[in-house]
């Protein structure tokens, strides 16, 4: 069996060019099953495009992406029911109640015993008190929990998260991270997480891929990145990469 077949997500020489802009420039990486990987980078680094290609929303200009052995986007319908995603930038219908929204998505994902699954998620994610309230009337933190519940409805083997705790207060954000850690441990799920929150990445991820201008600038475990850059925090590493300090240092030497 080749390496891409063993990987939960396999990205091979992926390039995406929009007209004259190269959004993703020949990147490659493989994520083994059960791993949690952070995708870091400034605005326009290519994170969202990379995740969109992995989800089959965008067709690559060249290169290959496979999720759970299925080529994306060509074979996406083989695996979409085994994946899910969460992003604060994609809403759920506001006029539907939380229960109605979750039941519709559960049906779309082919979840069996929908009522029991929603009840279980309501307990796990503390949704009980607003399960029958319109989604549009929830606070930002409650909406994030609902969105997380939607992303876990089908017990996905691959979970893609785009800034899952953006605009949340520290307490709610910490609560969400704990739930993600629990889910990963219980289901051995593969999680790919795009985030600007370095504390979140340090806490959740065993591997960090840093992107800049569509390319992978660095790819290592958080502690190795800290050692490599001689920094105390990932935030400092991120700033070094974003501002090109490493290249400047190497040039000076």
């Amino acid at each position: 069996m080749d390496a891409s077949a063993q990987s939960a997500i396999s990205v091979d020489r992926l390039t995406k060019i929009y007209k004259s802009t190269t959004a993703v420039d020949g990147i490659s990486f493989r994520l083994p099953p059960g791993s949690v990987t952070g995708l870091l980078g400034g605005n326009g680094a290519g994170k969202t495009t990379t995740i969109a290609i992995i989800m089959g929303l965008v067709t690559p200009t060249s290169g290959h992406v496979a999720v759970l052995g299925a080529a994306m986007p060509k074979e996406r319908y083989r695996v979409l029911h085994r994946m899910n995603f969460e992003s604060p930038y994609v809403d759920m219908p506001m006029r539907l109640t939380v229960r109605q929204n979750l039941s519709v998505f559960a049906q779309l994902y082919g979840v069996e015993q929908i009522g029991e699954r929603i009840a279980q998620l309501a307990v796990d994610l503390d949704l009980g008190e607003f399960l029958d309230r319109q989604t549009g009337k929830l606070s930002a933190g409650q909406k994030t929990r609902v969105s997380l519940a939607k992303s876990l409805l089908n017990r996905p083997e691959v979970l893609l998260l785009d800034e899952p705790t953006a605009s949340l207060d520290p307490d709610t954000a910490d609560w969400v991270r704990t739930r993600l850690e629990n889910y990963r441990r219980e289901r051995n799920a593969t999680i790919l997480l795009a985030s600007h929150n370095m504390n979140e990445v340090e806490r959740l991820c065993e591997r960090v891929i840093i992107m800049k201008r569509g390319r992978i600038e660095d790819d290592a475990a958080p502690d190795r990145l800290l050692a490599r850059y001689g920094r105390e925090t990932l935030e400092e590493v991120f700033l070094d990469v974003a501002r090109g300090r490493r290249e400047q240092r190497e040039a000076a030497q």
Binding site: K16, Q100, G110
Partner: protein, 273 residues
Amino acid sequence: MTSNPDVGLNFSLNRVGAMVRRYWYLLRSSWPRILDLVYWPTVQMLMWGFLQLYVSQNAGFFARAGGVFIGSVLLWDILFRGQLGFSISFLEEMYAHNLGNIMMSPLRPVEFIASLMIMSIIRLSIGMVPVTFLAIAFFGFNLWSLGLALAAFFVNLILTSWSIGIFVAGLLLRNGMGAESLAWTIMFLFLPLTCVYYPVAVLPHWLQYVSWALPPTYVFEGMRALLIDHVFRTDLMLEALGFNAVLFAAASFAFTKLLESARKHGSLLQTGE
């Protein structure tokens, strides 16, 4: 396996049902949405009905052609509201910023379209059925008395409305909300060309060729033949069906290509303006 997964044949009624349920929840949660379905068809029917009443009292031909105006307006509303019902359900996903969730779910485009077709019939029924009874009450015009002819008219008109709806959905996927106004106005192009309120013979000769290439023209001509000459023109209905088959295939092809282009250009990530 097909080379384009968007046109694969792995169809799930369960997923179609999920989407219909989603739109039904939305519709029943909002009384202005329901009122909007009934309000304009009622206004249209009343206006044209009273106009016909006035004209028929002053002109012999219109006295013979009882119900032609009201029939025209009701059939036009099937065509117009059918497309609008399809397109508005699609637009609801864009207004709700929910398209990302939908496009990343296992829902196939063909299932999405099937659910929009079902919703267009549901919305049309809510809007039109009460209006047909009002037409009986106010003007003694019973659309239901057309029987099988009405079924033939309906099938042809709804097929055209779905074709246009599918094409507009493709434009919205590819161009985002910039194409929204088309969803509301595109059908009005059909209003003069398909000769809703007058015979095709009224058009300039060269424009008649265009008119006869549009399936609804056959329906409106067929309706006039039925109401004025009391003849059901099966030939016109079959020709309409033939043109509808071509139009539906062309719209589906265009939708597939527009979706393909949207994936290529990253438009599915940016469904705003």
